[in-house]
Amino acid sequence: MKTKIFPIFLIFTFSIIFFVFYKGLQNTNIYTPEIKSEIKIPNFDTKEFFSKNKINSDQIFIGSDYYLLNIWASWCVPCKDEHKYLMDLSEKENIKIIGQNYKDNFDNAKNFLINLDNPYDLIFLDNDGTIAIEWGAYGVPETFLIQNNKIIKKIIGPLNEKLLFEIKELTQ
């Protein structure tokens, strides 16, 4: 009896290990922690992109309008890919698109907007990347849908057809 338990136990253990690792093969190896939805937006001081006037986040996100905060940079290639979706959304009137220019060179960023058009209602600067951290962001591009000073949806990485549709659904 005793001799039989051991091989069964061994096979059982190894099959569990095999199963776990086999499952793990299909998962992405980049772990992004779960995001608690409906987080309050941070409060920060920054400068407006064109005028360089000082501006506080209270003056940007006002009332119960929908705001789409998009963190972008001219050096970020996926930002170029998602640009057309932002242009699409900028035509919607009930949603204001706010740009956060992340660690960028002003002239390059300006050229980016001249060449690809400007979907943003307002752009502010984040030269050292600390405001992105205040948002709980990882890098560029990243997009937040905001209403009533709360983050309703957080999108890591570039926008796509499906996400565009989701945003439109949420802001109906």
Partner: protein, 123 residues
């Protein structure tokens, strides 16, 4: 009088320098306990990614604002979750993580103890 002036300014200089060094050390200590979320397997201190560099600046800023080490951890945990800390606190999400080694230790100890007792009995 002049010597006294020199002495005082010297002491002040040393004091400033040492306190500055202390702050820097604390900053390093904190960033070593933070996981770089986009370059996984590295701490924020070791990494040179955009994310890690911003985080280093932010930690320095928060220290200057008067936050202590614990407050900074709480602040970052709220934004990025437990995963950003290399040393997560004891909570209902992590009790399994903390208790598992102890359980394994006790379990292993019990097996060894049993074997020893059995052997003694045989003898």
């Amino acid at each position: 009088m002049n010597i006294l002036k020199f002495l005082i300014s010297g002491i002040l200089l040393i004091y400033c320098f040492s306190s500055d060094l202390k702050a820097k050390n604390l900053e390093i200590e904190i960033t070593k306990n933070l996981r770089c979320l986009i370059c996984q397997g590295q701490s924020v201190y070791d990494s040179d990614s955009e994310f890690a560099n911003s985080l280093k600046i932010l930690v320095e800023k928060k220290l200057n604002e008067g936050l202590n080490e614990k407050q900074i951890y709480v602040y970052l945990k709220d934004k990025y979750g437990d995963w950003i800390l290399y040393d997560p606190g004891f909570s209902k999400n992590t009790y399994f993580l903390w208790l598992l080694p102890i359980l394994m230790f006790i379990f292993g100890g019990a097996i060894i103890l049993r074997k020893v007792i059995l052997k003694k009995k045989k003898l």
